[in-house]
Amino acid sequence: MSEASANARQPQEFEKALSGSDTAVANFEVSERSGLEKVQHFLHASPAAVPLIVLVASLLVFAVIIGGRFFSAFSMTLILQQVAIVGFVGAAQTLVILTAGIDLSVGAIMVLSSVVMGQFTFRYGLPAPLAILCGFAVGAACGWLNGFLVARMRLPPFIVTLGTWQIVLAANFLYSANETIRAQEIEAQAPILQFFGQSVRLGSAVFTYGVITMVVLVLILWYVLNHTAWGRHVYAVGDDPEAAELSGVNVSRMLISVYVLAGLICALAGWALIGRIGSVSPTSGQFANIESITAVVIGGVSLFGGRGSILGMLFGALIVGVFSLALRLIGTDPQWTYLLIGTLIIAAVAVDQWIRKVAG
């Protein structure tokens, strides 16, 4: 034994070649990076950077063009209020897209949840907090259905949610008979439904509870996605489900948990929606699915899954909000807003493809 350890200190004859070899740790960097490659790597490492740069640049440009009417604390916080609902739904959408899925039913789940919260209170006379819980249960159930069909039945997410979008929306209209519950009635009988419409004022800045909750939710999700096992598994499942499965991740359970969480967030969005518009309206939120996908894509989250930051989604939503308000203040035809947002979407996906080459 002691003889063996003594021998170990002395390199044996056949090991002598080692002393002459490279001692550096294995490295994938083959050559010096050019400037452009450095940018590419930086963007690959920090996916929220591009939308943040675009957001700041567009704020500056519009601030110069329009001036104080746009670049004021009130206007800036107004944009936050206008994108709050998209921010909530976009958070749900980000989770799903990170798993290489897509959720077309988010807006429908949001509206159905808000209708359940309203109708359970006013039609059946349930206490409002209980009705709100029922709304969350409905959101979770819709999410679970999506997750079950995607994970267990192995159906493509696009098809599954295309179906549930229609089903949930139809259920919403059938159940509500397209009946609006007026703001005044809610205010008088169940003010808690409008909870997220209340606001905190700091000077001329107005932060509604909805805005604050949305930002906090995004920050929590950002932490969870980056610093917890569950969060890393979301990325892993989206990047390569087979590799994730082989590494011991229960992929189908992960997927179901993601869709259920997305459903719950949509229900929260539904509650916040009541705060925003005051009333419970079954026709609202018709385009929330498209708006949330827009925010996610402009935010630099890859539609192929496994890459992107939820903060990027928030920046993406804000970019759309900044463009909408600024162009309206300039007084352009609303169609210009859509045209510019369309251009941004394509530009964002093109940049994403370029960044992906680093990984490829």
């Binding site: 746009f70 609006t180 005051g278 009333s279 309206s281 026709t283 909408s324 308000l325 309206r328």
Partner: protein
């Protein structure tokens, strides 16, 4: 698509052949079609209710169709094809695509059917045998007059926000918007176009998609443009409710006059609550009931409905509903409005 048109046309021809053989035997078995933009909007729900009740009363066999969403013209084309194939006597339609639907409706008319446009005129309007609709220009004019009369002397310094429907400026949007200006005393320039006016009292126009969410956002945008707004014209009552929320958020709800068009029950209740100052009420149930009567009459006698005196369409009536009547503007009170409201 082309194939299905052909097939429907063939079916239509054969069905007509059969109908021609069996028609003289009895006037019974008159069938009609109702095609609405959607079957979720309370306005169309009420329309269907009115048509169904009238059809039952007159012994007309009514089949109802609807687009999936507002703007879904494809489903409406398919519905017309089905009606032709079915050998219906007439079609009542609220067209989603007022110009695009015309060629398909022409096929129906060529097949001997009576085509009546409900609520939304076609482009051109004579593509239908008759149009049964609200006088939207008058609806706008009434709320414009009311707002001007209520403000009195202050009307000349008013700051007005226009919350319109969609960027494409559909006819109903233009008529209500320009009608309001006419009633309020604003030079409309080209009365077929929104946005060519230069009256300094106009703060701006924004679009709402006719719902609460859009109404709130549009109001916020225009308030950013000019916070001294004191009159708001809204395309419909959900948009008005949204605008009210935006005004309330900045504590301005008591200084601003909101006017609207529709007369749905939640809207009239908002008039009662003081959210909306006045609204022009329209009568979808009446439109549909009159439409069914016209088809029955056409089936029995071959006579087509003729337009209201002095107008290009059959006016189904409009009333101003307000809790605060203004001098010189005829109106009905909230109680009567609630008795006649829809949705």
């Amino acid at each position: 698509m082309k194939k299905s048109v052909l097939r429907a046309a063939l079916l239509g021809v054969s069905a007509l052949g059969l109908a021609a053989v069996s028609a003289p035997a009895s006037a019974a078995g008159v069938s009609a079609c109702l095609i609405t933009k959607t079957d979720t909007n309370p306005f169309f729900v009420k329309m269907k209710e009115g048509a169904t009740a009238k059809a039952k009363e007159l012994g007309v066999d009514l089949k109802s169709y609807a687009g999936k969403i507002d703007g879904d013209s494809e489903s409406q084309v398919a519905a017309i094809e089905s009606c032709i194939a079915d050998g219906a006597k007439g079609i009542l339609i609220t067209a989603s695509d007022t110009a695009g639907i015309v060629p398909t409706l022409k096929k129906a008319r060529d097949a001997g059917m009576l085509v009546i446009a409900l609520d939304t005129p076609l482009e051109p309007a004579d593509a239908a045998d008759a149009t049964f609709a609200t006088d939207n220009l008058l609806a706008g004019e009434l709320i414009g007059k009311w707002a001007a009369a209520t403000l009195g002397d202050k009307a000349k310094d008013a700051k007005i926000a226009f919350l319109d429907l969609t960027p494409s400026q559909p006819t109903v949007d233009v008529l209500r918007d320009q009608g309001f200006m006419k009633g309020f005393g604003i030079d409309t320039k080209d009365i077929n176009k929104i946005g060519d006016e230069d009256d300094p009292r106009i703060v701006g126009h924004d679009v709402t998609n006719g719902n609460e969410e859009g109404g709130r956002q549009a109001m916020e945008n225009l308030l950013q443009k000019d916070p001294s707004i004191n009159v708001v014209h809204t395309i419909n009552e959900p948009a008005a409710a949204g605008a009210y929320q935006a005004l309330k958020a900045v504590g301005m709800e008591n200084n601003v006059l909101i006017v609207s068009v529709d007369g749905g029950c939640p809207g009239v209740k908002n008039v009662e609550a003081g959210v909306i100052g006045a609204t022009s009420q329209q009568y979808p149930l009446q439109m549909a009931a009159l439409g069914i009567e016209a088809i029955k009459k056409f089936a029995d006698t071959g006579e087509k409905p003729s337009p209201t005196e002095g107008k290009t369409f059959v006016d189904t009536g409009v009333n101003l509903v307000t809790a605060k009547p203004a001098p010189g503007v005829e109106s009905i009170d909230v109680k009567e409005g609630l008795a006649k409201c829809w949705g």
